[in-house]
Amino acid sequence: MTKSPSGPEDDLDGAQPIPPWLKWAPRLALALLVGAGLFTFQLAGGASYLREDPSACMNCHIMRDQYAAWQKGPHAAVATCNGCHTGDGFVAHYATKAVNGFAHSFAFTTGRFREPLQIHDFNRRIAEANCRRCHAALADVVDGFAAHGEAGACLRCHADVGH
């Protein structure tokens, strides 16, 4: 290690050269963070959330009941969890996963969530849009009968159709 050229003046106004440990310690800490992050990502089955297999939603046992009910329900043959609960299109699809992934992990980790679980407007709108994506013809007919302002509520009557 060479001495800093500005040596004596540093002492006068309090500015020190960066000590060697401040050069390697942050790098080591960053490496630790990345390592721990990768380990936790692997432990949590992080990669499974990027794929489409519904069993990923079961990583967290809180979804057991929904998963079991979905398997026995009419939609099991035609739609997965993501089919109804993520937005349509590449960006919307992964954006939904990111938003819900963070929110749900945060809630479950901190234990700050209400039971029984209730769907929020953000996710209700996504699910509703997906009902209409597949059942467009039927939805159009039903909307034709609905009074003004009442459209957009497949789930009001069919709340348990998915699970």
Binding site: P17, A25, T40, I62, Q118
Partner: protein
């Protein structure tokens, strides 16, 4: 300060920030990994005993060492919480040597003085209070004002943790029914020396397997008679009931109608019996009492041979829509609770209206305020009907007292009217003493009150006065129906 210096101190701050942030981040990520692994292992198990169950099994704290989560909930029964129509805030009282309680529940007699007239001559006219948590059951029974009249040891079958006392007094083979009979024959004070705890784990759980079990001999016998009458002989609740049924029966063994049957040569009241031979409905039980010629006491104002209904939650629930749908007491009063990754039964037994999320919304996915409003509407209507019937009963009591004076004794019409009073009073009491204000079976509660009114009309007619002719004061304790 030179430009070089500024650059150097900036770089230092940057390096320190990176270090701190990276270390904190690592700590958080590791904590997350630990949490994930912990919840995952919790999720794999449905029941965990942290310690071997050994020692004094009458003491819930001993069970608490093995099952701390359930025990923690159980301890919650010391809470005073009220709903609109039930329960009570803790009313502070100055402890005395005779009664060391530092708090009591609100007096029902002060809230509705008609009860004093209804039960005139009986212990309940001296002291009767709102319900509060299980934790208080033994003290509240030990120190109630009703103790001014001699109380039998049989009370303790349900006001204490009784399993060990029944066994200890049951002879060599620890026959619980024999022990219960022996306790019932004692005075309350003597029997009290055989018990130490309010209801505990052992009253509902088998310590070996943790399975639910019924421990009250009177309930085992009563249910066997009920099932026999339904064409199912030799019924044994502990071996033949399903787990779902047991989730109601363990509560029903105490939350049900009973009477103390005279036993022994001196005719002392000593056997605890549920009147279920003819069915669980209020009028079916009434028919049982009539057939036996049983009475709890003689009415002080009219001389009528009276009956007292006592917390018939099991009977009323049995007639309701929840029972019909297979929903057990425990489903609503001790709903499932998530603790970390584990799901347990909440052992803080209480009104579902205090925990609508877990108790109601699991099946009724509607707004919590709407759920409470619906329940309270049912309760307000029941109370309003009960008020009407109670006012008419007060009139009948006045009319009988007046007719007795006019006739100068027990004439035929007085005896017939007393019978109407006895029957109407029991039926109104059935609804009033039931701890859901009609919610457990709203239409059945209404039907029972209509039968009560029918009795009152019959009694009034036989006395020769029209219903409503009396001028006694009307008291209304509830809001008008919604």
């Amino acid at each position: 300060m030179s430009a070089v210096d500024r650059k150097s101190s900036k770089a230092r701050r940057f390096a320190v920030s990176i270090l701190v942030v990276a270390l904190l981040g690592t700590a958080l990520v590791v904590a997350l990994a630990v949490d994930i692994e912990r919840k995952r292992s919790e999720g794999r198990q449905t029941s965990v005993a942290l310690a071997r169950l050994e020692g004094d099994l009458d003491d819930p704290a001993v069970w608490g060492r093995a099952y701390p989560l359930e025990y923690q909930g159980y301890l919650g029964t010391v809470d005073h919480e009220r709903t609109r129509f039930g329960g009570s805030d803790a009313l502070p009282r100055t402890p005395t040597e005779a009664d060391p309680r530092t708090s009591v529940a609100a007096s029902k007699l002060e809230a509705d003085p008609r009860l004093i007239r209804m039960w005139a001559g009986y212990g309940f006219a001296i002291d009767h209070r709102e319900e509060r948590g299980h934790a208080y059951m033994l003290d509240d029974q030990t120190f109630t004002g009703r103790q001014q009249k001699p109380q039998p040891g049989a009370c303790l079958q349900c006001h204490a943790s009784i399993v060990s006392a029944n066994r200890a007094l049951g002879g060599d083979d620890a026959d619980e029914a024999a022990g219960a009979a022996r306790l019932a024959a004692m005075s309350f004070a003597e029997a009290r020396t055989h018990v130490d705890h309010a209801i505990g784990c052992i009253d509902c759980h088998d310590p070996e397997t943790l399975r639910l079990r019924v421990t009250r001999p009177a309930f085992i016998e009563g249910l066997a008679r009920l099932e026999a009458a339904r064409g199912r002989p030799d019924y044994d609740v502990n071996t033949m009931a399903s787990r779902g049924e047991m989730r109601s029966f363990v509560c029903a063994q105490c939350h049900s109608e009973y009477h103390f049957e005279a036993a022994g040569p001196d005719g002392s009241a000593s056997r605890l019996v549920h009147p279920w031979d003819g069915g669980l409905r209020a009028d079916e039980m009434l028919a049982q009492y009539d057939a036996k010629g049983f009475r709890d006491w003689v009415h002080a104002a009219t001389g009528a041979p009276m009956l007292k209904a006592q917390h018939p939650e099991f009977e009323l629930w049995s007639e309701g829509i929840h029972a019909r749908a297979g929903v057990a007491c425990v489903d609503c009063h001790m709903p499932y609770q998530r603790v970390g990754g584990t799901k347990i039964t909440d052992h803080h037994v209480r009104s579902p209206l205090l925990d609508t999320g877990r108790a109601c919304q699991v099946c009724h996915p509607i707004d919590a305020a709407e759920i409470v409003a619906r329940a309270e509407a049912i309760q307000a209507r029941t109370i309003a009907m009960q008020d009407t019937a109670m006012n008419r009963l007060m009139d009948l009591i006045d009319d009988i007292a007046r007719a007795t004076r006019a006739d100068g004794g027990e004439t035929e019409r007085v005896i017939a009217a007393r019978r109407a009073q006895r029957r109407a009073s029991f039926l109104i009491d059935f609804v009033a003493s039931e701890n859901s204000a009609g919610f457990h079976a709203p239409q059945e509660a209404a039907r029972v009150l209509v039968v009560a009114l029918d009795e009152i009309i019959a009694g009034t007619r036989v006395l020769g006065s029209a219903p409503g002719a009396s001028t006694s004061t009307r008291i209304t304790t509830s809001n008008a129906p919604q």
